[in-house]
């Protein structure tokens, strides 16, 4: 084994020969492994949902509000549709909401942070002021006004939740850029005659990617949570989409007689979000122990 690398973020690429150090650190963390297994399971379910669903999730198959049975594992919903199949298919909707919202927030956020940190000056001031104002505004309120003007739909939920995460990325990346901007290797890249764009994307951004990955994993869980909350309120997915928050809302009025309609989708959300958070925290301490933020 080569001696451990001591550079700031270069640890990820440390001994390229064997198993990367961060993976070895990651698998030692029981919670993180548990989270990865759970998240992996949900991704498989999402990928293969159409083939593993026992029934058609959109079709009325029997009596409404049937309790869980051998035929219908999670019971049937208000319209007599198989709840188990709907929960399975719902994993697609939720993971999609998580991934797309995060992409919608991460791409502009990372670019803004990169430009602000790299160029400094007026660009930095403008971007930073804008980011501060957005951070001073609870993201749920921003999501609510965006949905108010675009109209309630699953797509608009993704846009609203995504925009809300922009400032966090911008701030994070700006910080990382500032910390490496004046290092020798960036200087060297400039002296050799690289264009600013190439330096920014090839050299500077490469050093910020670990925290961005960590933030993104945690944000996927958060986006799923917020998105399903908005759908629960009627501001997101519309029937008959098998969205977990919407399904919980559908069961709300019959909670006393048919507890399963709200409960199973709720458990599904909880398990996906726990999995994302475990993986995110696991990555955070594996990629850089000093990045650990508790709380």
């Amino acid at each position: 084994m080569t001696p451990p690398a001591t550079t700031e973020a270069g640890e990820i690429n440390a001994d390229a020969g064997g198993t990367p150090r961060w993976i070895r650190r990651y698998v030692k963390n029981k919670g993180a492994v548990f989270g990865a297994v759970m998240l992996g399971g949900w991704i498989l379910v999402a990928l293969f949902a159409p083939w593993i669903m026992p029934h058609d999730p959109y079709e009325t198959l029997g009596m409404a509000r049937q309790p869980p049975s051998d035929m219908f594992w999670f019971g049937t919903d208000l319209l007599g549709r198989d709840l188990f199949s709907r929960v399975l298919l719902g994993s697609r909707v939720s993971l999609q909401v998580g991934l797309i919202s995060v992409a919608l927030g991460a791409v502009p956020g990372v670019l803004m942070g990169l430009f602000a940190g790299y160029f400094g000056g007026t660009i930095d001031t403008l971007i930073s002021r804008f980011v501060d104002a957005m951070l001073a505004f609870p993201s749920i309120l921003l999501a609510l006004i965006i949905i108010a003007s675009l109209g309630p739909s699953l797509q608009n939920v993704m846009i609203a939740v995504g925009i809300g995460t922009i400032p966090q990325y911008a701030r994070l990346v700006r910080g990382s850029v500032l910390s490496v901007k004046s290092l020798t290797y960036v200087e060297a890249a400039r002296v050799v005659g690289n264009r600013p764009m190439r330096i920014m994307f090839r050299h500077v951004l490469a050093n910020a990617y670990a925290p961005v990955v960590v933030l993104s994993t945690l944000q996927v869980g958060n986006a799923i949570l917020v998105g399903s909350g908005l759908s629960f309120l009627g501001l997101g997915a519309q029937p008959p989409i098998p969205e977990w928050g919407l399904m919980s809302a559908e069961g709300r009025d019959v909670l006393r007689r048919a507890w399963w309609i709200s409960t199973f989708p709720g458990i599904a959300i909880l398990s996906v979000v726990v999995a994302c958070n475990l993986v995110g925290d696991g990555l955070r301490s594996a990629l850089d122990p000093r990045m650990r933020v508790d709380g």
Binding site: L144, S248, T263
Partner: protein, 311 residues
């Protein structure tokens, strides 16, 4: 201290202004015609072009954007947030009427969050790396990952329907506040307990803790008088941020428990396309959030003099 407070209050002004710009911009620049939306929402179906134009004129939507914004800001500054389409009354009145219920919910939610979060974090820190710690942290983890509506429904199922201890909905009497407050507080309790744990672990490693132990103080006194006092300082900052979570959570909690608060008013305003009401609610909630954070910052500076002189 006076200078610090003044400085913080002055800093608030540009932020408030930017927020008014953001709210106004999102509502007016994004696609969607407020007048058309309002007509569709309020009068249902048949929208004649004349009626649309009348309304646009009436709402001042035909004026240049800057003129519209100036009017909006000027009116907002004197407390006039416009007229609700659905209720046909002043938005300010509606907001103020619903706000106490939301404030009551948010404060009791915060109280529950601290009541659960602080002891949970303390126990975990004192018994660091034991099964007690692991259990406490698992609870906090689940809390932080819990969809708030799901927790609310589970609590209703358990305590209102099965045990029949507490009412499932409504806002009459103190007992109707318990389940919503626990629902709202539990999520933040997860975050607070993690913060208390790490902060207390850090403080317990300090020299002055070793000194107080060495001079023979009882562990209980070391904890309560020396460790906890310092460990709780960072918790105060998060309390302000948590208040934002409380407002966000209140939107969902009020719907689950059918409480007539500002959150539910906002959601209903969005669903019925009541533009001025949405705008007013959001502006009001954002301002409330900023003011709470201002108060928290001031309290923090008062508790920790380093902050006052730091900047």
């Amino acid at each position: 201290m006076g200078a610090y407070v003044l400085n913080r209050v002055l800093q608030l002004i540009p932020v408030l202004w930017l927020i008014s710009v953001i709210v106004f911009a999102v509502m007016h620049i994004l696609p969607g015609d407020p007048a058309a939306l309002m007509l569709a929402g309020a009068e249902g179906g048949a929208v004649t072009p004349q009626r649309l134009d009348e309304l646009r004129e009436e709402m001042g939507l035909n004026d240049p954007l800057l003129v519209q914004y100036g009017r909006f800001l000027g009116n907002a500054l004197i407390g006039d947030l416009g007229t609700s389409v659905r209720f046909r009354t002043e938005v300010t009145g509606l907001v103020l009427e619903r706000f106490p219920s939301t404030l009551e919910l948010a404060i009791s939610g915060l109280f529950v969050a601290l009541l659960i979060g602080v002891p949970l974090g303390m126990i975990a820190a004192v018994r660091q790396n034991t099964w007690v710690d692991a259990t406490a942290m698992s609870i906090s983890y689940v809390g932080a990952s819990m969809p708030i509506y799901f927790l609310g429904l589970v609590l209703i199922l358990l305590f209102a329907f099965n045990l029949r201890w507490l009412p499932a909905a409504g806002s009459e009497g103190w007992d109707s506040l318990i389940l919503p407050a626990v629902t709202l507080g539990f999520v933040s309790a997860g975050l607070i307990s993690r913060l208390v744990r790490s902060s207390l672990i850090e403080v317990l490693g300090e020299d002055y803790i070793r000194t107080s132990r060495a001079k023979g103080l009882v562990e209980r006194i070391v904890l309560s008088r020396h460790a906890l006092r310092n460990a709780l300082i960072p918790v105060i900052t998060i309390v302000g941020l948590q208040f934002g979570n409380m407002l966000a959570g209140a939107v969902v909690t009020e719907t689950v428990f059918s409480r007539p608060g500002l959150g539910r008013l906002t959601v209903n305003a969005i669903l019925s396309k009541d533009y001025p009401l949405v705008q007013g609610c959001v502006l009001f909630l954002a301002t409330a959030y900023l003011l709470v954070n201002l108060m928290v910052d001031i309290a923090y500076a008062w508790l920790d003099p380093r902050i006052r002189y730091g900047k």
